[in-house]
């Protein structure tokens, strides 16, 4: 059972429908990718899970029970539009957010100090936010999001504004939090990090869920039965009627890389059997899985 179960959630703002019968099931202890083009309704869904916005209809369950305001303390939310009080000191500010999440003053102090040490930013404690660079402020904001050990973490574009080194630090922190048992909802346009980090995804487009499920299942589902074959031979490979056709074949001094399209009703074994009759040495044979990026573009443009 998922940590968050949204069933038939609808939300409209006046005439504008933001979410139309959206159902997603977010499994506990996993990283869940929330994808979709701008304006699809991702932020509205996130806000509904956060109880910032109340849906018009549908239900949201948190660990199997209708979500309440108390559950919000177990959620950490990093909005896409970051924001800290510019004139407030970093430490005071982090303490404030931690206390609003239900931590006691002492508890908050202990945990914050740990995080500041981990990120090597102890010296920022008494600095005002306006003295920090954008990347530095992002780090502080990340800490304020996770300091209360939330069981559900909602990160909206967590890597934006970070240089590659710091982005890697955050990536590692996310994986570490997952290993410690947190569930993470990752909303991002960066498909590479989706492939790298996410276990499951939901793609939202025009207010409803287009596809949801495990990342690998989806990628295989949208695979168009192509394989990549690397072989060594003096001559080019020829197509086998009914078994496979050749989409491309490049020759690099006798070492060929070809993309084959497997025929209707046939499988990898049929292709390999057919290849045995040809005069070539197979170096590598692998199924071609589409990138998330391609699936995203395909699904979103198909709808138009």
């Amino acid at each position: 059972m998922g940590i968050i179960q949204c069933t038939n959630v609808c939300k409209s703002f006046g005439e504008k429908v933001a979410l139309d019968n959206v159902s997603v099931d977010i499994p506990e202890g996993k990283i869940f990718g929330l994808l979709g083009p701008n304006g699809a309704g991702k932020t509205t869904l996130i806000r509904i899970i956060n109880r910032i916005t109340i849906p018009n209809s549908g239900s949201v369950l948190f660990k199997g029970k209708p979500i309440t305001q108390d559950d919000v303390e177990k959620i950490g939310y990093l909005p896409e539009e970051r924001g800290l009080y510019r004139k407030m000191k970093v430490g005071e500010q982090a303490m404030y957010f931690a206390q609003l999440k239900g931590m006691s003053q002492r508890e908050a102090m202990v945990e914050l100090k740990k995080w500041f040490v981990r990120f090597g930013i102890e010296s920022w404690w008494n600095k005002k936010v306006e003295e920090l660079s954008k990347g530095m402020a992002q780090k502080v904001q990340f800490i304020t999001t996770v300091v209360h050990k939330p069981s559900l973490l909602i990160l909206d574009e967590p890597f934006s504004g970070f240089d590659p080194v710091n982005a890697q630090v955050i990536r590692e922190e996310i994986l570490r939090l997952k290993a410690e048992g947190s569930t993470i909802i990752l909303s991002t346009h960066n498909m590479e990090s989706v492939e790298e980090l996410c276990d499951n995804i939901a793609l939202i487009n025009k207010s409803h869920v287009v596809i949801t499920g495990g990342v690998n299942e989806i990628r295989h589902k949208y695979g168009n039965n192509n394989v990549e074959l690397i072989y060594t031979s003096d001559q080019a490979l020829s197509a086998a009627e009914g078994v496979f056709t050749i989409l491309s074949d490049t020759d690099d001094m006798g070492r060929h890389t070809a993309v084959l399209s497997i025929g209707e009703g046939k499988g990898s074994n049929d292709v390999l059997t057919a290849l045995l009759s040809q005069n070539l040495t197979v170096n590598s044979f692998k199924e071609l899985v589409p990138r998330m990026n391609d699936i995203f573009i395909k699904l979103v443009t198909e709808e138009e």
Partner: protein, 462 residues
């Protein structure tokens, strides 16, 4: 609503403001300013008082010199036989501070012209002393031209100076001598302060809402606490700042005024403002025969003088003494708190609907108009506290905090206070509920400029 969250928000709103340099500055400079306003006039009077100035008089008219009667401050010496030009060069050598030259009588216009020469600019007192004496002389001269016997006596006889003694009757029917000027002053000061406080601090709430919205802190905040908790936490936090400032002002002003007065030993400072009656009477007695003469000249007798002193100064004094300061402070706190809560919730809603302060102009109009209106009615209340406009102004919740406070020094029946406070509380709950609805939606709206139509739509949404 969770009290814990509201408490956390209140303490942040309060602490960040109270620790600001500008708050400390205003809080500590304010009382110095108020105290200075109380004390300075007396100090200036004490310091600048002319003592023992000698005035040389060249009287070519022959009518002025006899009127130049010496008093404590000024001694007049006759140099009528000397030429003006020569005297101008040497009057200082003769130990004179000022040289006054009176021209020969202008028979046609029946007047004289007077010039005064001195190193330092002439003080107001001295100028006044000279001019009143010369006026006196010229008036006497003109009277004498009518050649009516006893004219002087007749004039003295008809001159009148009637004073009105004002009494206010309290519920027990007891008469209290009172001064309406004092009530006016107190009423004016109170309504100006409450107007300033309401406008200033509810404006502060609006600013702070806009700051949170435009810096996008708000989205993180409302993911932890409810929007209404945030709004009321902020409003209450700022209210605590206002009350802190007010109490510090009251306490520090009192400490400063009494402190400075006793420390510097200027007993007179306080007595000038509180014990004027005694002083006045003493002065009148001390003036003795000279005073008699002087008063005779001004056409008043001793009894008149004391009566005036008793009725006017005494009234000020007794009014100041009779004023129920505790009641005034309690009324101020109640009406400020309620008026502020009402307006701050409006301003919070306005702040939530915009992304920067420049956009508030249009949306503010419906809120600032009643506030200004209240101020204008309050000004009217100084003059006629019992008029219908003022009565209704002190009942209608949007104007009542300011108008009622302007009325309070004049005395307000208890039932009117109760009704006005109840109405205010009721309206606050209604408006706060509406404001919270707008606020909840407004703080997360970005991009489009908000119109009144949008606000109305938000109000109807759930």
């Amino acid at each position: 609503m969770k009290f814990r969250n509201i408490q956390t928000i209140i303490s942040r709103e309060y602490m960040t403001r109270v620790k600001k340099k500008s708050f400390l500055l205003v809080t500590f400079l304010g009382p110095i300013f108020f105290a200075a306003m109380c004390i300075l006039p007396s100090i200036i009077m004490l310091m600048t008082e002319d003592k023992g100035k000698t005035v040389g008089v060249i009287d070519q008219s022959g009518i002025v010199m006899p009127k130049m009667v010496d008093n404590d401050a000024f001694t007049f010496k006759d140099y009528s036989s000397e030429p003006v030009d020569e005297m101008k060069d040497k009057f200082e050598d003769l130990g004179l501070d000022v040289l006054v030259a009176v021209s020969a009588l202008d028979e046609q216009n029946r007047t004289v012209s007077v010039s005064a020469y001195s190193r330092q600019p002439l003080s107001m007192d001295l100028k006044e002393a000279i001019s009143s004496r010369v006026d006196d002389a010229v008036e006497d001269y003109r009277l004498s031209l009518y050649e009516i016997s006893d004219l002087k006596q007749i004039m003295k006889d008809v001159r009148s100076n009637v004073n009105i003694a004002t009494y206010t009757l309290d519920d027990s029917g007891e008469e209290k001598i009172s001064s309406s000027e004092v009530y006016m002053m107190i009423s004016m000061i109170l309504s100006i302060i409450i107007y300033m406080f309401i406008a200033m601090f509810s404006g502060m709430v609006m600013q702070s809402v806009i700051e949170e919205k435009s810096s996008r802190v708000v989205e993180v905040l409302v993911s932890s606490v409810k929007a209404t908790e945030l709004m009321f936490g902020k409003i209450i936090g700022v209210a605590c700042v206002a009350l802190t400032q007010f109490f510090l002002w009251v306490v520090l002003t009192v400490v400063l005024v009494t402190g400075v007065s006793t420390f510097v030993g200027f007993d007179t400072i306080l007595s000038t403002s509180t014990d004027q009656t005694e002083q006045m009477t003493k002065m009148v007695e001390g003036m003795g025969i000279d005073a008699e003469a002087a008063m005779e000249a001004s056409g008043m007798n001793m009894a008149d003088m004391t009566a005036v002193a008793d009725s006017e100064m005494g009234a000020v004094l007794s009014t100041l003494r009779e004023l129920n300061y505790v009641q005034l402070i309690i009324a101020f706190v109640i009406y400020f708190a309620l008026g502020y809560l009402l307006y701050a919730s409006f301003f919070a809603a306005i702040g939530s609907a915009v992304e920067n302060e420049a956009d508030t102009q249009q949306l503010q109009i419906p809120v600032t108009i009643p506030l200004l209106l209240a101020f204008f009615i309050a000004i009217y209340a100084f003059k006629s506290p019992d008029s219908a406009v003022v009565f209704w102004g002190s009942m209608i919740p949007f104007t009542s905090p300011i108008v009622m406070l302007a009325r309070i020094p004049f005395g307000v029946p208890t039932w009117e206070l109760v009704v006005s406070i109840l109405l205010l509380v009721l309206t606050f709950f209604l408006c706060a509920w509406a404001s919270a609805k707008i606020y909840k939606i407004g703080i997360l709206m970005f991009g489009k400029k908000t119109t009144f139509k949008d606000l109305w739509k938000w109000l109807k949404q759930n």
